[in-house]
Symmetry: C2
Subunit: 356 residues, 2 copies
DNA sequence: GGCGAGCAGGAGAGCGCTCTATCCCGGCGT
DNA sequence: ACGCCGGGATAGAGCGCTCTCCTGCTCGCC
């Protein structure tokens, strides 16, 4: 099992295996990579030599010639044009805040699960400052990863453009504000919001308000627009809107304001589950029953939706599937770099639970 | 800016930069890596050549000779000895479940933030089946990462042993059941549970129960043991115990049972915030006010604690700091492989909010 | 003025792998 | 019987970088 022929501390190489098996380096390489016909007897001998020497192929050496790393950068890209803040505090808060939302955990889940069967792995990166964005581009240009999966939180994020200009392979989560030549996956946010509006209306709600997501985020804009459109089309009156920040706390604050200004409301659509959860808390504290007095609908169908009391009726965003699709698109791109970019838009579904 | 001298599609190499700058490859390398004194004029020339050619050093080539990748594997290691389940369902559920707990997001945050200033990056891996564990070991043996940060959820996890036996650098989150020669960071769980017990007692609670964590996890055992010990030392009666699974739902189920069997209880210690949140929900549904009728204490001080209504009094586990410490220990190990392993145990702090 | 110390820069040998071009050998056609 | 074909194996040339030697200067010192 141990490498008897090697100077201590050095890993066995192809050469060692070849010598042990009495064949050439090339033959060992073929067996290890499972290509071309190799005499079964020799294959067996090589395999034995591999296990005797405890050989493991050196990834760097392989990458050097194949120009593949089997790694992809999974980058969470933050706000747009803020000045670089170098302080640990600034960064810490961004990275911490990212995972406070169950959304990113789901993205990671989807990416890992889709990469895994292909023997690939994600390298986690954050790109919230222009410095950090440069580092991401640099990382990719060095060939440290084969491509990037970019989850962009802001519409004006410059990263997609930077990556394209550098000629790097990448796929986006969410359509970029300005079309740049990159594939993306997205959700039909408007349709989702429409589902929520129609459900509220069908339930008999007439004094409906909405807690919008941040309006500098495409998802925030779209969900609001879709909701307003649907309401208008059904002849309902224009809903009061308060903008939140996709956090539970912002949902609480928004709900307080809504309640203060429109005490008679009977239905609320929050642009994500976290804000919907916050809204439920505030409603209860104000003595309103959910859904009897006020119906609440969230968005995403994240873990927060089922954790909420009452469990949230929500619009499902199939994050894991979308993340898996990103992987697929990226691998397509890597296999055929010249093929035109393709994007996939997923349709949301209404999940009815107890809150509406 | 573009590589005029290169055949299209090929990245510029050191050689190209050297030619452009009129110096040798070695000199360019020195400038790029900032080692040894190089004539300022030449440095400038090289730097200009770098930007003219758009050169980015090839990571694989560099790794091949330095034997460093500047990547570390961040592995979430799952249950112990279950049979390999190959199905996507099984895996999907593990990876999904991992991020359902805010805990892992915090670990990732701490790791990323501590790796970043060192120009290093984490590669995310899961090791919940024996097959997956082998893949992790294989990955490291190939030199794809310089070492591993292992977050182990089960006491009997075989991964730490596998990694040590393979002579790989690694640091654990949580002390392994059997000591293996690996550094680890851990929390003084018993002390934390004691804090909770004493706070409950000081508050005047006399009929105290506890929702334990899974007892095949060290943290679960320790927190329970610490809680029981503290209660006993203060002369309080032995608390009813129900085992949960660290999920909110398991907390709800446990609380239901506790309430059915001990309707008069006035204090609950849940072994993590998620279960405490579930307990609060159930208590309220049963008409108990928190903290007036029943005081509730959680553990971790995760985002769930402040998101809960009422905000949870909880025992803080400084996950981000602990994760950063793991990085530090790993880098120490890489710098001096022969130094004896050192471990760090953090002290928990009680965070008093509204629930107790 | 001569000589050794010290340092900037270059040449070149690898790091461990893949892959093309080549060689060898047995079987087949005529 | 002889050349031809083709599959199986090998030899060897890199991939792009780092790093150890080594050369050739300049400078300081006696």
């Amino acid at each position: 099992m141990t490498d008897a022929l090697r100077p201590a501390g050095t890993a066995p190489t192809l050469e060692d295996v070849a010598r042990t098996a009495g064949v050439s380096r090339a033959t060992v390489s073929r067996v290890v990579n499972g290509v071309r016909n190799v005499d079964p007897a020799i294959q067996e001998a090589v395999r034995r030599a591999v296990s005797v020497t405890g050989y493991a192929p050196n990834r760097a050496a392989r990458s050097l010639v194949t120009r593949r790393t089997d790694a992809v950068a999974l980058v969470v890209s933050g706000a747009g044009a803020e000045p670089d803040d170098e302080g640990a505090a600034g960064r810490g808060s961004f990275t911490a805040q990212v995972f406070a939302d169950p959304f990113f955990g789901r993205v990671v889940t989807g990416v890992v699960d889709s990469l895994r069967p292909r023997g690939m792995h994600p390298v986690l990166m954050f790109a919230e400052t222009s410095r950090a964005r440069e580092e991401v581009v640099e990382y990719l240009r060095q060939g440290s990863a084969d491509g990037a999966l970019i989850v962009s939180t802001h519409a004006e994020d410059p990263l997609p453009r930077l990556v394209t200009e550098a000629g790097l392979a990448a796929v986006l989560y969410a359509r970029p504000a300005r079309p740049v030549g990159i594939s993306y996956v997205d959700l039909a946010h408007r349709d989702g919001a429409r589902l929520a509006a129609e459900h509220l209306l069908a339930r008999g709600c007439r004094r409906i308000a909405t807690i919008a997501g941040p309006l500098d985020v495409a998802a925030g804009q779209e969900r609001l627009a879709g909701f307003q459109e649907a309401l208008a089309q059904q002849g309902a009156s224009e809903p009061p809107v308060v903008e939140g920040g996709f956090t539970q706390e912002s949902g609480e604050i928004a709900m307080e304001r809504l309640l203060a200004e429109h005490p008679g409301l009977d239905g609320v659509f929050a642009a994500n589950d976290l804000m919907a959860t916050g809204a439920c808390h505030v409603l209860r504290e104000h003595g309103r029953r959910v859904p009897e007095d006020v119906a609440v609908i969230g968005f995403d169908d994240s873990s927060a939706a089922s954790a909420c009391r009452p469990p949230l009726t929500t619009v499902r965003q199939p994050v894991e599937d979308m993340a898996a699709e990103m992987t697929g698109l990226l691998l397509d791109r890597l296999a055929a770099p010249d093929r035109p970019v393709t994007s996939v838009v997923f349709e949301p579904v209404l999940i009815v639970r107890d809150s509406a």
